[in-house]
């Protein structure tokens, strides 16, 4: 299949979300909305499932905390039992700060790296939507809808988007890498 993207600019948030719902009801997949700020209601209009980012953060945080504790237990209580001031080698209260910090560190790294490289699949500076010069406004002041469709059907989808109230429609060739 030869891929292409149909890009449609909308002037109002309501019209944009309605268009996304209408296309989805017609069975279109590969839809996306582009806006300079997070759009309220976009998740529902696109039928997105609940984000799994919190689970990733939780898993990484627990991993970090457990490894932090094991690191301390392993080094100063097991590998080289260290007697400073008569404190027992295994001193749980003294191990709390590092355990806590490593939990936070792992969770934060997982959120950041996970978002960028797994959820967003960045870096992707050469996405087909950037082929359209007018699409620059998506990060400034305009609302856009993008539909990934076969080039043969692109004209039909473009016509449908015009019918749904798009103020500007364009077709750009290409598939997401």
């Amino acid at each position: 299949m030869t891929g292409s993207y149909v890009l449609a600019r909308f002037e109002r948030e309501g019209a944009l979300l309605d268009a996304a719902r209408a296309l989805r009801a017609q069975g279109h997949t590969g839809l996306d909305l582009h806006s300079p700020y997070p759009l309220h209601g976009a998740d529902e209009a696109l039928g997105l499932r609940r984000s799994t980012v919190p689970l990733v953060a939780l898993g990484a945080g627990v991993t970090g905390a457990v490894s932090g504790y094991l690191l301390q237990y392993g080094t100063v209580a097991y590998l080289w039992p260290l007697n400073v001031g008569g404190r027992p080698p295994h001193s749980p209260p003294a191990f709390i700060p590092v355990t806590f910090e490593l939990g936070i560190l792992f969770a934060s790294l997982a959120i950041f790296l996970g978002l960028l490289f797994a959820y967003f699949r960045f870096p992707r500076v050469h996405h087909p939507v950037f082929e359209l010069e007018a699409f620059r406004s998506a990060s400034i002041d305009a609302l856009w809808l993008s539909a990934e469709v076969d080039i043969a059907r692109a004209e039909a989808v473009a016509a449908e988007l015009r019918r749904l109230g798009a103020s500007h429609v364009a077709i750009v060739p290409g598939v997401a890498p």
């Binding site: 080094t75 100063v76 260290l82 400073v84």
Partner: protein, 472 residues
Amino acid sequence: MSTAPKTLEEVEALEGSPVLVGRPDDRALSESLLEPVLGPTRKGWLMLVGALMVGVSYWIVSLIATLFIGIGTWGNNIPVAWAFDITNFVWWIGIGHAGTLISAILLLFQQRWRTSINRFAEAMTLFAVAMAGLYPIIHLGRPWLFWWLIPYPATTQVWPNFKSALPWDVFAISTYGTVSVLFWYLGLIPDLATARDVAKKRVQRIVYGILSFGWRGSARHWQHYRIGYLLLAGLSTPLVVSVHTIVSFDFAISQLPGWHTTIFPPYFVAGAIFSGFAMVMTLMIPARRAFGYQQVVTPRHLENMAKVMLATGLMVSYGYVMEHFIAWYSGNPAEQFAFLNRWNGDYKWIWFMQLFCNVLTPQIFWFRWARRSEVVLFVASILINIGMWAERFVIIAVSLTRDFVPSSWANYYPTWVDWGLLLGSICMFGLLFSLFLRFLPAIPIFEVKELKRELEHHGPGVRHQGPAEVAR
């Protein structure tokens, strides 16, 4: 209760001045906020950078002296093994904490006024942490061996002593620095994309294009982005409290009179927020004039920050009172002497300066006119910065000069290297901040656009829907 829609003017009369002046359209807003970044270099900025470079060279000379000759170039001695260096460390890290407070804690508390100043405050955090992290390392004596602090399987088979507060510090500060960078950069990505798209010059388009990783404002990304950003805020909130708590453990866990106090963790955290808000104020008042941010950083922001300074100033004052009470109540002569020594000792003038700057100065913010006067705010913020530095010096160095055994007492006098490391670091911080203001969007553009929509849709009188709704 009437639910009749109120006009903007009515609501502003009730709620105080607006968090956003006027309702500029998105393109005008983007262009005006990016003008300092994408526009031509200004002469004033170049002159400022040049002046700061002079101070930075003093800092570099002091660092070279420390590295090549050793910490014998400092005024430190035994018993005063910790002096300017650790004072600077605690001071800088405390300044950093206000940035995290503004960007994370106020986000969770749904405080709308944080929107315009959070990026600015986060950048301050980064540079303050960078300055802070330097001092414990150069204080090691052989700083090139700093990696001995990291637990790694050494041939000596010896590991860091995790029962000491100092290795906790290593983990706390490095985690804090890392998380601050991540939080700041994640917030920057959509604005870097805006910079890429507003830019006219090819070089700018390429550089901001690379920095934004190809952000395309996708709703599928925004969904994860918002929840991830909120989670980072949620993680930063206990982190910031834990970091300064651990910093205070460096002192509280020891047995030195004046240090061995259980009130230190909350008292240090309050002091950190106090000094950090003062530093945000010191930087923001000139920057909003120079770069024309008055539309998004309004008197409302300055007034709210003044209120936070008043509140934390009172908490710090309570800490001072309670320290003295506990010293008396403990019945421990060494502890009692340590506090009498603050009022009567050789360094009493620093103690009085601390009381003037930290206890008396914020009291002016009980008055509305003072909270709204840029001159008063600027002068008070500088005094508070000085006062908080003095507080750390009094706690750290003055306590050390008079420990248990009178035969080991000695005073501390800073050398030119000590002064260079303090004053030079302020210039370096200023330089980093100037570069940030010139090359990165200092005001979160996408958040201001979002704020504008909330004000339009829900009316200014309605609290904005925050984390609860995002988490849906």
